[in-house]
Symmetry: C2
Subunit: 191 residues, 2 copies
């Protein structure tokens, strides 16, 4: 829980009291997912949002031909979940699985709402991350529709340098929407 | 202002008092932008978020070759603005201009914050639209990286049927990231 407490304090710039920490601990559940196992499978409703305490995961869809398309990566300090499914209780079109043994801290919609109402640091944090999600989603849309493969790779390297250490190249290529061959060419040419 | 009041009431499911309406009226400014004129130009800081009271607009970027890439369309009841620029006071990479004479209701960050603190209907609405933005951005990322041009067009037609009436075909093609020739083929084949 220490990473989650530090996360709320750093995002909100408020200090959590012991009582607030206790309430947060009571509302989040630990969930251990072994390497290459699912946190969420297509067709299921996303019942909780999940904070990565330790590990690495991805959100992806699978098209009719069986090709995977990666929407998001996540590492320590990131949230995983399907917003639409979580908000509207509808089956998800997405899958979430792990690259390594991963420890998630999960929370349901009702419990999150309770924490937002009772703990200012949580309320401020959630507001901040919704805004940051909107910003990073805008950037990702911009990159997908208007940047060249080279530019998309440079932007990824500048914005999330950790990703290049934590995820296999084939996965990075899928995230960027390019072939692994093109990615290899960009990396060797771009250094 | 009537559309904006109705918007806050419908999104929040609360009724605005006369005093609240008065405060909202005092904080929003009217801005008329003639057809094909800018609301925001690349390099400027996005100082306010803008609600479309009447008209039609688009958000787009221009790449080094001078090609336009459309990120968003907006019509009555939609908001236009660059989240990242607005939140962090940094120059925008985006342009916003209009397809017809457009009446915006604009608000600065400080005024929006004041309304959020004083008017529950505004606070609930802003929270709701942040979440909806996150959901629609996820869908747009999903469409951009994993759907075929045909599927992207079908999803647009199902989700925003108005867009096909309000925006030129060449603009729709740019939004979908396909050529106008491909869009023509899809439309004639898909009916």
């Amino acid at each position: 829980m220490e990473l989650l407490f530090a996360y709320f304090e750093s995002k909100s710039r408020l200090i959590l009291s012991d009582a607030e920490k206790e309430l947060i601990s009571a509302k989040f559940r630990s969930k251990h997912v072994r390497k290459r196992q699912y946190l969420l499978q297509e067709g299921d409703v996303c019942k909780y949002f999940s904070f990565i305490d330790h590990g690495a995961a991805r959100t992806y869809s699978v098209d009719e031909k069986g090709n995977e398309h990666i929407l998001h990566f996540g590492i320590e300090g990131w949230w995983m979940g399907d917003h639409e499914s979580f908000t509207h209780d509808i089956p998800s079109r997405l899958n979430i699985d792990t690259f390594e043994d991963t420890h998630f801290l999960t929370i349901t919609k009702d419990s999150l709402q309770e924490l937002i109402e009772k703990i200012p640091a949580v309320a401020i944090t959630i507001k901040t991350i919704y805004n940051q999600r909107a910003i990073s989603a805008e950037k990702r849309i911009h990159a997908a529709i208007s940047l060249t493969p080279e530019e998309r790779f440079q932007e990824l390297r500048a914005t999330y340098p950790d990703f290049l250490q934590r995820f296999p190249l084939g996965q990075i290529a899928s995230y960027l929407g390019i072939s692994i061959k093109t990615l290899g060419r960009i990396r060797s040419g771009g250094k």
